[in-house]
Structure formats: C-alpha cells, structure tokens
Amino acid sequence: MDRSSTGLLVPHAVTRRGLLGITATFTAWAALPRFAHAGGRDPRLVVLVLRGAMDGLSTVAPVGDPDHERARGGPVLGSSEQAPGLALDSFFAMSPRLPALGAMYQSGEALVVHAVASPYRERSHFDGQDVLESGLPAVGVADTGWLGRTLALLPEGEMVQFTSGEGFAAGAQVPLIMRGRSKVVSWMPAGYPEASEDTRARLLSLYRHAGDERLAMTLEEGLELGMVAGSEKEAKRAARSGADADVKGRSRPAIEAARVAGRVLSKEDGPRIGTLDLSGFDNHSRGDPVDGQLGDSLAVLDATLLALKESLGPAWRDTVVMVVTEFGRTVAFNGSGGTDHGTGTALFLLGGGVAGGRVVADWPGLSQAALFEGRDLRPTTDLRSVAKGVLRDHLGVGERALAESVFPGSADLKPVSDLLRS
C-alpha cells in the first residue's frame, strides 16, 4: 500500500488519507459551470467519501435474509438482543443512529444501493481508496480522480466568488478524487497569524529567480486563490467562531465542513461541485451499529448529512449527494465484536433530485456459498455504474465521455438509470 513498496510515486498521499485524524475537508470546483446560468435546473453534486471501509451490512442490514443472523454472528439489527432499526422495506433495516437519513428515505429523498463495490478486489485501505477515487479499473499510477476529470468536461464559466468569512484556501489539501486540470479550493480548520503581503511577494520572487518552478507554482496557486478567498486565516476564524459555536465534540469538524459546503453551494455565484471527507469507519472492534464505535461514526455521518441539507436550503432541491466508501467488511464478525476488511458494501444517494425511498440491490444472499471468497458480501453492482448514472442524468455528461475519460475502460458498464427524478 505504501507506494514506496512498489517504487511508484504518489504525490498526493497526504491529502487523500486525511490529515487531521477525523478529517473534514470540503473541496470544491472553483469555477461556475455555465449551465448554472442557463435557467431552469442548476444542479449541485457533492461526493462524500467515508474513509476506513464502512460496514454496509450493519449500516443497512438485510434483516429479511434467512442467513443474516447466522452468517454475521454479531450484534446485528433485528437480532433478539438488538434494536430492530429503521425498517426501510420488508427486507432491509437501517441503523437507528441515522435518523435524519432515515427521514429523508421515508420522504423519498434518499436511496440505498446495496451489494456495491468499486472494481478493487483486494483489501488494502489505501489501494482501495486509490481505486475508488481515481476511477481506474485497478490499482495503478493515478494523479487525477474521476470527479476531477468530470470537471474538465463541463463548460467552464466564471470563477466562483468568495467573500471573507467562508474560510476557503487555495490549492490546499485536494483529495485524489478531485484532482485534475481544473482549479479547486478547499476549506480546512484554522491555524496561525499571517505573514505580510510583502513577504509573500518577495518569497514568490525568490522561487522564480532560483528557478524552482514547482515551489513557485505552488506558492502562486496559494496566493492567487488566497486573494480570491480574502484573508483565509481571518475567514477560518470567523467560520469557527460564528454560527458553529454550538457544535461540540467529535462531530464538530464534520458538521462545520458540511455547513460551509452547504452555504457556498447554495449561493447563486458559489461553486456547484464538491467533495467532503469523513474518516472513522475502520471498525475492527466495537462494530455494533447502535452502541458501538460504528454507531457513533454513523451518528457523525447523520449529523453531517443533516447539516448539509439544512445549510443548502432551497438548493437542496437541485442537489445530489453521493456517499461512498472504499470497500465493505467481512460478513462474519471477528473476535472483537468488529469486522475486518471485506468487499461488498452499501452506498447512499440523497438530495431533492433523488428518486428515493427504495433500496436498489441485486441481492446476492448471505449463504456461505453466496459469499465472495467465502467471507465477504459479493458485490453485484459496480460503484462506477451508479456514479455514471448520476453524472449522466444530473450533470448531463455523455456516455462516451463517461466510458472513456471519466471511468476509463468501463465501456461495458452501463450507467444505472432512474436514480434521479426526471
């Protein structure tokens, strides 16, 4: 997984894996797509990456599967000593730690795709996240991501306007999924008092004269977008101290990032496409979806999604949020009440534009014979098909471009239709 072991070079490793433990960065395309002003629809897209491999089977449990309780052998929803969870239909139930998401599901604004996976079939987090974000069919050298390449296909309009108070900084920690040719900005928690404009300008001049192109370019990016964003430190501080003072504890960074995301995405001249990052799903122990660490992480996810919806306001109507993770976890619980790295898992689509209230799954079953390599939920839907359906029907990306540049080598994978309201 560490690329040093294969001799390959991955320059973005820092950003992808999340820097602050519980990460909560929001990254957005700095340009306004021209269709935003075309009248009528003004679509927004947010991809939320859950790092650590979420246990899809505990999050959305197939309580109607006759093998469920036996195969898992752990604290599962619907078992005799566990809460029943939120019934999604006669077959699936959702963790009660996701009440906001459950309510969105009930009102037809959220759907679940189950038994889903990226094309990656090994069990390393880091390779798995690379494949999930790069959109490539296998582990390989990737310096762009599928959302980043999608941006390049959209008609680029004006640069997004930022005002002080939004806390955006430039060219900072860009996750692989958003990397591409287009400019992006990101929001992170605050740091330090600033160096003067004069010192910054002198440093840039030093880099240019010293002929260190890489340093010069990087600093230039920082300065340029920093100017657009206003004084980023001040802005970050403002974002922290202001309306978000009520948010406490573990979910605070995530909720703050979601609010910032919702606030700017909802603005007329704000960005339209972004990603959010949330870590904390690698539950090798305490994988109980109600009281365990998994349950706690799901509660953070739920609060994040709710904050996003609320801060989007009326723009929620035009928004699709796609919640994905690198792979699933073992069907059977391990010896510590948790689960180890697996394969198939669940993903969520939510937003006013989603044709929700249902679980989309070609259910493979949990009998021993049905499992992938005898231990994991067998994936029956390719995550890229779902993403292709969203990109085609929500952003109008053509199928050929999807098959060739967004998800190279995926011509055989048809986009999933009818995920969104027409």
Partner: protein, 524 residues
C-alpha cells in the same frame, strides 16, 4: 579553508542525513563529513532519551486508566446534576437516571488480562488530543485541566505533551542527526497513532522510547518483535482482543480472530503489499498472533506490559507463505517473525523505503539494491544496512528534491536559529505541525506519514510555513547576523537569488522568514 566539495558534503551530512545544521556545525565537520555520518552507526546509545519524568508504558497505561475512570465518574456526576436540575425544574419526580455515555463503554478495568474481553477500549472516541489542546491553550504545562476537558474521554492530558516535548528537545540537542532521523523513520515505519484514542495516546511516546530507539542500529528481527509485541501496537491494531476461536477462552465465549495486526505486519512492516502473501496467509498469521495481549493488572508487570496468554491462543499448526509452523505457544510467533524478517521481499521493501526517505523519489535504483543486499547479507543488521546507504556515492550525489516534512522543517528552523523550547516557542512548533497536518504521533493510518518528495507541498501549506517562520523570526536575537547565518547554514544552497532575497529584506525578521522558506532550506 575546507574545499568546496567538503562544504557540500558537510551540508549534505547535516541535511539529507541529519536534522539540519546548527550555527558553525558545517565548518566543524567539514574535515570528514562522510566519516561524521558513518561514525554515528557505532553510537547506538545516542538514540536513547533519558529525560526526567518519563514513565514506562505500564505506568502510563495505569495512569491513563485511572484518568479515564475519574473522567467517567465526573461525567456521570455532572449528568446526574443536570438530570436532577431538570427534574427539579419540572417539579415532577422520578427522572431517568440512566447514563447514555456509560452504555457499553464501562470497562471492567484490571480484569482485562483475566478473560480478555471486558468491555470496549473506548477506541477512537476522541481525536482532539493533548497536542490539539495546545491550539486554544486549555492545557497548562502543569497539566491543570479546565472543567470542559472532563467531558473528553480517554486522554491523560499531560503524557503525550511531555513525551513530545522530550522528543523535540532531544532532537534540538542532538549531534548524531542521522541517528535521530532513523528513529523518526522507524517510528513511522512501525507507526502507531494517538488518533486511535483509548489508551493508545498514553503509550505512543513510551512506545518509541522502548521499542524503536534501542534498536535503530540493532537487528531488524528484534525491532520487528518488540514493535509487534508492544502494548501500543497490540492495542492500536486490535490484537489485544483477538482470540483463537478454538482456544479455551474462544470456545467458552464464542469469540475469535481480529486480523488487523496480521495484515498490517505483512503489508506494511515486512513484505509490502506486493510481497506475495494471500488472504489465507493473513488469516493464518492472525491465528499465530492470538494470545498476545496486554496485562493491565499492574504491580507485577515487567517489561512493556505485553503478555502471552495461552488460553487465548489458537491451538494448532498454521501455514504462512507456504511453510507450516508447528511450534506451541509464543514460540510460534517468534518462528514466523524469523522468516518474515529474512524474506527477500522484506529486504526490498525496507531498502526502497529507506532510500526514498533519505535520498528521495528519484534515487538511482542501485542505492536500494545495495541497501537490500546489505540487509540480506547481514541478516537484517540495521547498522550494516544503514552504512550501505550512507556509503553510497550516489546517495550523496543525488540533487536535493525532498521537501522537509513539517516536523523536520520545524526542527531545522529551531536548530538553525538556536531557539530553545520555552513555552511560547514550543507552542509555535506544535501549532505549526498541527496546522500542517502532522500532529506528532498522530498519523492518519497504520501506513504512517506519507514520504513522497512533494507529499507536503501545497499552496496553503507553504503559506502556513511562511506564517510559522514569521512567528519564530520575531523571537531571534536582535543582533543576529542573518546573511552570515544563512551563508553558514545553507552552504552551497546559498545561491545568488537567495543571497539577494536575504540581504535585501526589509527587516531582519523578513530575512529570517525568507531564509527558512528558501528552496535550499525546504528541500533536502
């Protein structure tokens, strides 16, 4: 006057193979820079920290446990008071006294080693650890807590700070910079992270002192064993709760394996992800590892506090990488570690990582090949392995490309400016690392911090560094001859553009900032 090439080598010795020069140090070693680096391989004791007030792991664990218990009691009390106040306000008796925070998390501490599965370890509950608390100044040097800290579970608030300060001070004072760099490298290779929460933050510092520092010039096999069996690793990668399904405990309680540690030892610590192992190897190795857990009974603990409990160990012979291990009890793990440490894939993996860490992504492949050969030929003697690296002409000749990570940048800045770690400076240092996302001992995953040349290069990260430089530049001696210092410290990298920037700066502080951010200081 030393020759130009001697000055260049002296600079390389102190940057690529060191923590950055202190004033005058380049000149002091210029008579034999390569000898200066090589000689460090024969002084393993320089890696050891003997600062006062640092505790061994079992004591840190015990304090952490006590601390968590007290917090829990305080929280419960607080909740009861709130409930009581609510009840009084409603003027309707019989309020619900159930404490939601206690659900499932209450730990029958002390008995954990008895039957192994007593409660959760509260892992991951709190990321806002001791170092983060520096941000808003809630942690005082004497460890006095504000009441709100009581609500955050799982942290003994002074342990990590004290350990981090001792580590940083040790680096500031170090003459054997290569040795300290090796500590950082191996600590990152066998990474544990305070981000796990629970008892891990209390152990990350003592883990490095006990498991890493004594072995950087020892045998890889020993380093592997002490890290795998250290309580910090056993808890961080969950092995302390892994139980053989057919062991006495497993059979009685119906509990079983956790393969986290097994996978990461193969993927990260030894063979590498392409090292040729399968899922079946991971599972078998996880069975071999069962039984290794932590002893929190205290008092009678010797060593690090790790313990092998036969009643948790999966009985039987297991096949790892095609070889059957029929040993009984703890000897089985030792036998597997013997072979993993000797495996050619391990040698390749280690050699590539070491070479990339010190020479950069563009290091000629001959260096890693020589290092791997030395590793195999010496049966994993890390002094011999390190010597192969630092004796390679190519390792000295490859142009500097690697951006110093936030820790090394901070360290090098402090050393060149002769700053000491008073409270203000220390706060600036730790804040910088936090702001740039490299909080000490808190890497984002078992893979540790990333190590590519430009891994830490980003627009706003450079601005953060500049802001940090501006802060520390205000704290220098006002008489400091900055151009003189820059010429001394940057050596051959004090080129015309840098000289112009430094000499034409509008203030001494600005000159310092530009020196610290110059390409010659950023890239090693």
């Amino acid at each position: 006057m030393p020759s130009e090439s001697a000055i260049r080598d002296a600079h390389t010795a102190l940057t690529r193979f060191g923590l950055g020069p202190r004033p005058g140090e380049c000149a002091a070693i210029a008579s034999d820079p390569r000898g200066f680096v090589l000689a460090q391989c024969g002084r393993p004791q320089a890696a050891l920290i003997t600062a006062a007030g640092l505790l061994p792991t079992p004591e840190n664990m015990a304090l952490n446990l006590k601390d968590r218990r007290e917090r829990r009691v305080a929280r419960k009390l607080e909740n009861e008071q709130i409930e009581a106040a609510k009840a009084a306000a409603k003027a309707s008796g019989g309020g619900d006294m159930a404490d939601p925070d206690m659900a499932g998390g209450d730990m029958a501490a002390g008995d954990m080693a008895g039957d192994g599965m007593a409660g959760g370890d509260m892992a991951g509950a709190d990321m806002a650890g001791d170092l983060a608390a520096v941000d808003d100044g809630t942690v005082k040097r004497d460890g006095a807590d504000r009441p709100e800290r009581l609500r955050q579970p799982g942290f003994s608030p002074t342990t990590v700070r004290r350990e981090a300060a001792a580590r940083f001070d040790h680096g500031l004072a170090a003459t054997d910079g290569l040795t300290e760099r090796l500590v950082l490298f191996w600590s990152n290779h066998f990474a544990v992270s305070a981000a796990k929460g629970g008892s891990v933050p209390s152990m990350v510092g003592s883990y490095e002192r006990e498991a890493i520092r004594p072995h950087v010039y020892g045998r890889f096999r020993d380093l592997l064993e002490v890290t795998v069996k250290h309580p910090a690793m056993l808890v961080y990668l969950d092995n302390w709760k892994s139980v053989g399904p057919n062991s006495r405990i497993g059979a009685r309680k119906g509990i079983g394996l956790n393969e986290n540690l097994a996978r990461e030892v193969l993927e990260l610590h030894t063979l590498g992800v392409d090292g040729g192992y399968t899922q079946a190897d991971v599972t078998s190795f996880a069975k071999v590892l069962t039984g290794w857990t932590i002893d929190r009974n205290g008092g009678r603990v010797e060593g690090t506090g790790a313990i092998f409990l036969p009643r948790r160990h999966e009985p039987g012979d297991f096949t790892v990488l095609g070889k059957v291990y029929g040993q009984k009890g703890p000897k089985q793990l030792d036998a597997v570690l013997d072979d993993l440490a000797r495996h050619p894939a391990t040698a390749r993996h280690i050699a590539r990582k070491l070479t990339r860490h010190f020479v950069g992504d563009g290091a000629p492949t001959e260096i890693a090949e020589a290092v791997a050969r030395a590793f195999l030929d010496s049966d994993g003697d890390l002094a011999a392995t390190t010597k192969a690296l630092v004796s390679s002409d190519a390792a000295w000749a490859t142009p500097p490309a690697k951006i110093r990570d936030p820790y090394l940048f901070t360290m090098a800045s402090f050393r060149v400016l002769s700053l000491t770690t008073d409270a203000e400076n220390e706060k600036a240092a730790f804040n910088m690392m936090n702001a740039l996302g490299q909080k000490i001992w808190t890497p984002p995953s078992p893979a540790g911090w990333p190590d590519a040349d430009d891994a830490w290069l980003a627009g706003d990260a450079l601005l953060e560094r500049l802001d940090f430089a501006t802060v520390v530049a205000r704290r220098i001696d006002p008489e400091l001859d900055v151009p003189g210092l820059a010429a001394d410290a940057l050596g051959p990298r004090y080129d015309q553009p840098t000289r112009e920037a430094v000499t034409r700066a509008e203030s001494r502080e600005q000159a310092v900032s530009l020196m610290l951010l110059s390409p010659g200081f950023q890239r090693i």
